[in-house]
Amino acid sequence: MSETSAAPTIVPEITVAQERRERLAQLLASPTFLIGLAIVAFWSACAIFGHSVVPYDPYADDMLNTLLAPSREHPFGTDSLGRDVLSRVITGSRDILTVAPLATLLGTLGGTVLGLFMGYSRGLLDEVVSRIVDALLALPTVIVALLALVALGTSKMTVVLVIAFGFAPIIARTVRAAVLTERELDYVAAAKLRLEGPLHIMFAEILPNVAPPILVETTVRLGYAIFTVATLSFIGFGIQPPSPDWGLSISANYGLIGGGYWWTVLFDGLAIASLVIGVNLLADGLEGVVNG
């Protein structure tokens, strides 16, 4: 009866902290994740510190130097109002990097709560909400957002809310699917047998086990959110002037491409593309580690 007396053990003993460190090490060994992290970190740094490092005031007109081609003084050239494009691209990350993550976060929170309730309760609530979710998913996000913004008026806060509202059902579906498999496991029955309430079971027992897929889905959504914000700004319903926002800048300048002033839109376009790619690489790296 002394199965536990001898010294050597069959399993490596891993504490919770060690496990976390191991996961992190795995992430940091993934080139996909590292490249994504570098890109996102670069643009985040620009968003935070950009205003104090740029060579020119991104808002300052200079009517004597409009539409200058890239040169030593203006590496990315100047736009139709003579503003320095490099300075505007660097500072242009600030609005999109506040609005998109905030919207994604809100959408994730709402979607997670909704998904937990749907998956755990099943029954009528699940049935009804699932149909509503299906209906919402059938509508194109940008069009719905557009209509909502027209009705509610355009502000950063409404953009955040509208995108979050669009994302919540998608997240909810992912969470619901994960919860459906978890709720059949015996630890849920064990929790009921020690008289835990449904809220405890959902948030303290099931949620930690469905967190990894939520994290991956959130990162993927962030990429979409960035794209949506840029699109809305481009059509005039997102970030408002005089912000140096990328989508907005492209919208203001794309008519000039025909005249050969390519630098007024190219760098903003590249910025959007690189940020979306960076976020997607992050998501890929995360997924690789989460799904083993």
């Binding site: 199965e3 053990t9 891993i14 504490t15 630890y187 064990a190 047998l193």
Partner: protein
């Protein structure tokens, strides 16, 4: 002289784990002659399956044979190119795995899958199909044409395994590797598959490498057996003499762990092997078994014994002549045996039924099951898959609501069918140890939280009192404190089950349902867990409903036994009487299906066919379709009642108990 079918010569295999090579097989040598059946036994993690994969050079990507030679049919496997290796796997070696459902392609009809083997050899389609039918016939499938038209998922587990064996034998390979081929099957089906393998062994001149953790099966099938411990062959010899007079302390320990008929919880505890096996890849100095061996001396710690030739058999022990006298590792003190008090049943189940709706059909998982349970008593619940064991457990606990007419009473009070409607006291009193601790323990929580939360909720303790209770509880289930901050993933199977047991006992329950708590564990760990359950019962005065398909385990722990078949109790009675007879024909078949370690067996009763679906149970007696003692039309039209066969012993059969007893053999 013909070449050996398989020869391992000083083979090392190691896996690269996080950059460090871990040697999991060290200096493994054995040979299997043509047509010979060789058994490889050992507990999980000892390297059995690694040896099997190495034999066809099919190791996982991070594994490699780092030393030694492996020869199949005299051909050196290590010097073979990919092409030669492929043709060898195609013609000379075949492998059958534990889970037939995963070995067969789910989207190809069975006939076509087998025919492919022949077509690869250049046969025409027509001829290949004819050969396939012939193969299915040879593995005793009664209607080959019909089975060939089916997809694998339409066949039962036993049928699937037979198809897998037919495919493996299709090319008449020189070597057949069977890796735990019956582990996932029910006992009566397992018995059938083993019979089949035994017969095929004589028909085909195929050599068999039979890998199993089940000593009794190996004892029955194999001519020679090797015992593997932590990647080392510790003993080898003719099966009969190896099991009758083992010459290595590990073999002795393993054999003693098996629950034997004469062992009962009231009189003794089961033997265990103290300690844990070394971590895979660890290479301790001296004999690998030293840490767990009661015979170990300074010499064992210093020098590793060679495989000593004892005349036709081998043992890797300095003191092989003393092995049989290995001091017994039994519980030091045994708690006072508990006599069930005759104060009336603590739990009564009256006409418990559970009907699931499947489409517009009714699936009767349980049909009017009635039983009662005394305080401190253990009721063993025996039956094969689909018999309703787990449904009974879940209905009792209120996790699924029983049908409205059912009644579950505790201490004379009727319990509501759903757990949500039960009063906290009743929920606390009725707890469970689940079969699969990986599902039952929340993988996100540390052990401390898993047990602590149960104590907090069930006994209302907090602060220092909770801490004290937690430590007392972990001590009583013999879980070392250092595991408290760890997550279940870091625990071995036996330790996880201890956590689950601690949790079930957190609120001083009156009745604990044990749902196959040891079915996933190695024999030595199983023995320790059974001992623990027996001790806890004696000290906590708790009653058990012990669900198992393993009659040996049930015999050790149960005071009374109920046998379930298709949701019906077919026999219930005191354990001694259920084992002694008269038996229900189904019980008799179950008893005779259990492989016996001595290799001998009495008259075997084999059941024909598969367990019918509960969706369309047979009319009359539910067992009539498989019953070897069916007496006539009455069995098909009228359901027999449970009739008295002795004191508190009842059998559901039209044959009178006296007659069941008389013609038992």
């Amino acid at each position: 002289m013909a070449e050996d079918a398989l020869a391992f010569d000083e083979v090392d295999v190691s896996y690269l784990v996080r950059g460090t090579p871990r040697t999991v097989l060290r200096g493994l040598s054995f040979r299997i002659g043509r047509g010979e059946t060789y058994g490889l036994v050992g507990e999980s993690g000892c390297g059995k399956s690694t040896a099997a994969f190495a034999a066809v050079r099919y190791l996982p990507r991070n594994g490699a044979v780092t030393a030694g030679r492996i020869r199949v049919n005299g051909q050196d496997l290590m010097s073979m190119g990919q092409r030669a290796l492929r043709s060898l796997r195609q013609t000379a070696v075949a492998m059958v795995y534990q889970d037939p459902g995963r070995a067969l392609n789910p989207s190809i009809r069975v006939g076509q899958q087998i025919a492919e083997v022949f077509e690869l050899a250049g046969m025409e389609r027509e001829a290949a199909m004819a050969k396939s039918a012939e193969m299915l016939d040879r593995v005793r499938i009664s209607d080959p044409q019909r089975v060939m038209e089916r997809y694998p998922h339409q066949l039962s587990g036993g049928m699937q395994q037979r198809v897998a064996i037919a495919m493996a034998l299709a090319r008449n390979p020189a070597l057949l590797i069977l890796d735990e081929p019956t582990t996932g099957l029910d006992v009566t089906v397992e018995a059938e598959v083993l019979d089949l393998i035994e017969k095929l062994r004589l028909e085909f001149d195929t050599a068999i490498l039979f890998i199993s953790h089940n000593l009794a099966i190996v004892a029955r099938l194999c001519e020679r057996t090797g015992v593997l411990y932590s990647g080392r062959l510790v003993e080898e010899g003719p099966t009969r003499s190896l099991f009758e007079a083992p010459r290595h302390p590990y073999t002795v320990g393993l054999l003693r762990c098996l629950p034997r008929p004469e062992r009962r919880k009231k009189t003794s505890r089961l033997d265990t092997i103290p300690g844990f096996p070394p971590m895979p890849g660890a290479a301790p100095q001296g004999c690998i078994f030293t840490a767990r061996c009661a015979l170990a001396t300074e010499r064992c710690r210093r020098e590793e014994p060679p495989l000593i030739d004892l005349g036709g058999r081998f043992s890797r022990c300095h003191y092989h002549e003393l092995a049989a006298d290995l001091p017994r590792a039994e519980a030091v003190q045994m708690a006072e045996p508990l006599v069930p008090s005759p104060s009336g049943p603590i739990l009564t189940i009256d006409k418990l039924s559970k009907t699931y709706r499947v489409g517009d059909q009714a699936l009767k998982a349980l049909r009017e099951v009635s039983l009662d349970l005394e305080a401190g008593e253990t009721l063993g619940l025996v039956g094969e898959s689909g018999s309703g064991k787990t449904t009974l457990a879940r209905s009792l606990l209120g996790l699924t609501a029983a049908d409205p007419a059912s009644r579950i009473m505790m201490n004379g009070r009727t319990l509501p069918p759903r757990i949500g409607a039960r009063v906290p006291g009743d929920v606390k009193a009725l707890q469970i140890v689940f079969q699969n601790p990986d599902s039952a323990l929340n993988r996100s929580h540390a052990v401390r939280r898993l047990i602590g939360r149960a104590i907090a909720k069930l006994s209302g303790l907090g602060g220092a009192a909770l801490k004290q209770r937690l430590l007392a509880l972990t001590r009583s289930v013999q879980l070392p404190d250092r595991y408290l901050p760890q997550k279940p993933r870091a625990l071995s199977g036996g330790l996880k089950q201890r956590v689950a047991i601690a949790r079930a006992f957190a609120g001083d329950p009156k009745v604990v349902v044990c749902d196959e708590p040891t079915s996933a564990l190695d024999v030595s760990v199983q023995a320790a867990i059974l001992n623990l359950l027996a001790d806890l019962q004696a000290s906590q005065k708790v009653s058990y409903i012990f669900i198992s398909h393993d009659l040996g385990v049930v015999r050790y722990l149960a005071d009374r036994i109920a046998v379930l078949y298709l949701g019906r109790i077919v026999e219930i009675g005191p354990a001694e009487q259920v084992f002694a007879g008269p038996h229900h024909p189904y019980t008799a078949a179950l008893l005779s299906a259990v492989p016996d370690i001595s290799g001998g067996h009495g008259a075997r009763i084999r059941l024909q066919g598969e367990i019918p679906s509960a969706l369309g149970p047979p009319p009359g007696c539910v067992f009539q379709t498989r019953c070897p003692r069916k007496i006539g039309p009455i069995c098909e039209t009228e359901e027999p009642a449970l009739s008295e066969a002795g004191p508190r012993h009842a059998i559901r059969c039209h044959i009178p108990p006296a007659e069941l007893m008389a013609t038992r053999d």
